[in-house]
Amino acid sequence: MQPQNIFVIVLSVCLLNGLLSPYLLVVYLIAPLWLPDYLPMPLELRLYVSSLALSTATLFVSGVPAALYERLSGLGRPTSTAMYIWLVGAIVLSLPSLNRLNASGSGLVGAKLGRSGHGKNPPPGRYIDPSRLRVRPDRDLDGDDGHGL
């Protein structure tokens, strides 16, 4: 396989890790430490940036063994072997995410679809049941006919 094809797989694994990693919450909570103060962000955007930061960290950290292999072997150019080492590093770093993905079937709604490995009764508090999500109408502030202010 060509190095660029392997790199696409590495990127996909890193993005998956950024989305599903259990450490995403930690990165999100310590965002005031690494996110500059001059970038005021809504919470949703901060979560998105946290996911990107985790993906970027996975990409660079998993590349260290591949870079050391290239330097120590004296190649100095990208080879398929080094890219495979990069891919293995990314998969190893993404193991918690892959375990999570495996445990929940196809993501957070997997439990609802009965693919969680827990049957139709997943452990309480671990999964989001979409059928219990409700859109609460805004409170009628003007108190008349419910058509807004």
Partner: protein, 109 residues
Amino acid sequence: MQGQNIWWDYWYFHLTNYALAALLYTLLGRFLLGVLLPPDSPNYIYRWFCRLTDFVVRWTSFITPAYVATRYVPLAAAFWLAAVRLALYIVLYQFGLLPKIVLQPDSPA
């Protein structure tokens, strides 16, 4: 915060953090100028950015796969510097070596 000088009592944190931040933003500037200018540009700002950050880029090249093009290595270096800043903050916090900000209640007028 009474009875302490928030700068001189914590100079080791401020100086290190400031140097790392200056390097980080210089690396980002080097990358942005590298997009606009050719690698051998005589632009003196770009040349100085390169001169200031060459050692970081050289270290980062050692731990960055060769597949990453040379022009993107400053971004990788900026990432590692941000990680070092975060680690510095967390380690100093663990040892209680960071300045503490304590809000005092309003005194009666």
